[in-house]
């Protein structure tokens, strides 16, 4: 009986998990292949940051460009070099800050800050918009939609990662 090896997913949730797991493992492998892992304290911190980015990137790329949050994540990751540079520039120079901000934001930035009138609860809405990537400029109806999708994928990703950690730590 090939039950242990070839169990087919019986619900869409496990199919999703398999896809996420596969994607995540690919990125993890490339991460490990690039840099030989060592147990230095600072290195671990950096590696964990990279693993976190890999997790979000794999999650977003499984979804593809269908969702606003996945697009925002992918955009952020692809342009994190540029964003880091802009941040540094803004912090250092004091006076031309406003000009730089206009320049920086002019690129097609799905994460731009736009003042949206929250529909009912002001504080909570804004908080939610900050939490969900790419949700700053969406109407409240779509915001809840995006949040639901984001929660679903995030929860499955957390499960996959948890199982991986288990797997590695118990072998």
């Amino acid at each position: 009986m090939s039950a242990s090896q070839q169990l087919t997913p019986t619900n869409p949730n496990s199919a999703l998990k398999i896809r996420l797991a596969y994607r995540f493992l690919l990125t993890l492998n490339t991460l490990n292949a690039k840099k030989p892992p060592n147990f230095d304290h600072t290195q671990i911190h950096r590696r964990s940051h990279r693993v976190k980015i890999a997790a979000y990137a794999s999650m977003a790329s499984v979804v593809g460009p269908k969702r606003a949050w996945s697009r925002a994540i992918l955009w952020k990751i692809r342009n994190r070099g540029m964003l880091a540079r802009n941040k540094k520039r803004i912090h250092r120079i004091s006076t031309p800050i406003r000009l730089h901000r206009h320049h920086a934001r002019r690129r097609r930035n799905p994460n731009r800050v736009v003042h949206v009138d929250p529909f009912v609860n002001s504080g909570l809405e804004v908080k939610l918009r900050k939490l969900v990537p790419g949700a700053e400029t969406i109407d409240p109806c779509g915001l809840l939609d995006e949040t639901a999708d984001y929660i679903k994928y995030l929860a499955t990703q957390v499960e996959v990662m948890r199982n991986l950690v288990d797997l590695y730590s118990t072998i």
Binding site: L25, P37, N38, A68, Y150, I151
Partner: protein, 348 residues
């Protein structure tokens, strides 16, 4: 908040005929069932509201239909309006079919559409007086096919101007989504009201993100054993098969390497199943069977306890574990509570 209206303005339907055919056409294109509906992005199909429009058909069943379409984008093909009780059925369905054919034939579609809409208009203008008279009586809110506008029927004893109707449509959309979110976020059944729900959602998202961070840190420390693990995982998989009666020992090491990724994936995809089988291997084969409930409580974060035994009825075992697998999402809420405690445990 006023609903957005398209540039041409939305006249009541009895004046629809007076719109230039091109505008009708473009509006129908823009709200083509497949392209218009299920965009989750900004740009919900623009709509305006008609007060007391169409016949007597109650269309509450349309709203669940709309909800389904929103949340299962794969279903976008079945957007044609749900069954309507009124005499509107034939004309509207014909119209919706015309919607689908629009993309193919422009010119013929044009004339046909105007024809159909004129039919529609006559009927609707007839029914409009009747419905205006009866709008005060019992009737329910309804949503119609997607072109351009959403027909809403005012409820008994409520305001009938377009603003409040639009408000009501918006509010109902939002409450639908809140209900869906309630199912997603564990432990939200008792909480009613938007503010509490939003609070819970925010907390849940924050906790999930913190878990991702914590887990990535763990993965960064544990990961160095990756290559070694793949081989060992695979050999253990091969070890399982003789026990179950499979004779797969003829596979070579090269095959192991090739398949290791899929094996790992199947490991992760099958969650508790494989974990439990692995546990069983590492301990003794004759460990006692655990009751499903207790197995559920022993989460991945807490200590891993002996789980299952290998006896003849493995089918039963896997069935149990699949059930447990579906209950996993509900555990994550418990995790967040015990997260800090288990963090300390793991770090020591």
């Amino acid at each position: 908040m006023n609903p957005e209206s398209s540039s041409g303005g939305h006249c009541p339907s009895f004046m629809f005929n007076s719109l230039p055919p091109q505008q009708q056409f473009s509006s129908l294109i823009a709200n083509h069932p497949i392209s218009g509906i299920v965009k989750p992005d900004p740009g919900w199909p623009e709509f305006s509201v008609y007060g007391g429009q169409l016949g007597n058909g109650y269309l509450n069943q349309n709203t669940p239909g709309v909800a389904d379409q929103t949340f299962t984008p794969a279903n976008s093909a079945t957007v044609s309006p749900k069954k309507r009780k009124a005499d509107k059925v034939p004309s509207l369905q014909v119209v919706s079919e015309k919607d689908k054919k629009i993309k193919g034939c422009a010119e013929e579609g044009d004339s046909k559409i105007t024809h159909q809409y004129s039919n529609c208009d006559n009927k609707s203008s007839n029914s409009k007086e009747a419905s205006n008279a009866s709008s005060k009586e019992k009737s329910k809110v309804s949503e119609v096919q997607k072109p351009d506008y959403i027909h809403v029927r005012a409820r008994r004893g409520q305001a009938t101007d377009s603003h409040s109707l639009a408000e009501r449509v918006r509010r109902e959309k939002i409450s639908e989504r809140m209900k869906y979110l309630q199912d997603l976020v564990p432990g939200c059944n008792k909480i009613t009201g938007k503010a509490g729900m939003l609070d819970e959602i925010i907390n849940y998202v924050q906790s999930l993100q913190k878990q991702v961070e914590f887990l990535s840190m763990k993965l960064a420390t544990v990961n160095p054993e990756l290559d070694f693990n793949i081989d060992s995982i695979f050999t253990k998989e091969m070890l399982q098969s003789p026990i179950q009666g499979l004779g797969c020992s003829s596979e070579t090491a090269a095959d192991f390497q090739l398949n290791s990724m899929e094996q790992l994936v199947s490991y992760c995809g099958l969650d508790m199943d494989i974990n439990s089988t692995e546990m069983a291997l590492r301990r003794s084969i004759s460990s006692p069977i655990r009751i499903p409930e207790t197995f559920m409580e022993s989460s991945c974060f807490n200590q891993i306890q002996p789980t299952a035994t290998w006896d003849a009825d493995l089918q039963n075992l896997y069935k149990m574990e699949f059930e447990q697998g579906t209950l996993i999402p509900f555990q994550s809420h418990q995790f967040t509570g015990s997260n800090d405690g288990s963090n300390m445990k793991m770090e020591m």
